[in-house]
Amino acid sequence: MGYIENIYCDKILGGLVLNLEKKIERLTLILRLNGELDMHTASMVRQAIDIEIDKRGIRTVILNFQDVQFVDSSGLGVILGRYKKLLPLGGKLKITNVPPHIYKIMELSGLPKIISFYLDEAHAYEEGRGA
């Protein structure tokens, strides 16, 4: 049985800077991001993922970017950092639902060369489970 947890970051001008929705199923963490991923919100994402890896033994992290409006190099840094943290643990980081303008930035950074991208959460979840 999984569970869902919502973490809210601060609000500016009536809009959320970044909202995280966590869903955990067995040893997989699905993190749905909603908002902007920059140096300010990157630390929140780092903490939200690391606590599950360290305390709960999560080994697969799926990041759903469907509702992400902005990413810069600080945001990409936190993704790469989680990939590097999971690698020696035998874990995996997967990214899904990336909007085209966000993918452009990711492509320029070379991220798709090392991290697996999926159409949606279902594809990411099934892959690697032998299903």
């Binding site: 902005f70 810069d72 600080s74």
Partner: protein, 145 residues
Amino acid sequence: MKTNHISLTFTSISENVALTRLIIASVGAQLDLPLNDIEELKVAVSEAVSNAIIHGYSNSPDYIVFLDLDFEDGTLKIEVRDEGCGIANIEQAMQPAYSTDPERMGLGFVFMQSFMDELQVESTPEVGTTVTMMKHFKQIPISSH
């Protein structure tokens, strides 16, 4: 095409990076720029301002960052200045994948260079750093508002 100038001084806290993106997006919208161009300007500004806070001021929230936007003769000039520690070796700092922090990708200057037409970095150790970026727009429709 109207000329425009915006000057902003703000505290070196990470929350303010989003504010600078809102400003550049508003300026881009005033100029009737395509959404794609606005997205690229937002990334360039975000990188320059983040650098000022993270590197110039070592993430200390007690300093001031200066942002100047100028639009004249079809050219948008963005200047981000800090009075922080400065960069000893600008050439090294601007290399792709160079970073002082393993959690970061060292892509700030790469994005600024990719999304802007001109990039200039002036820095003096212990005095500060000024990043000047230019983007030339040739055929912007004259806005009715």
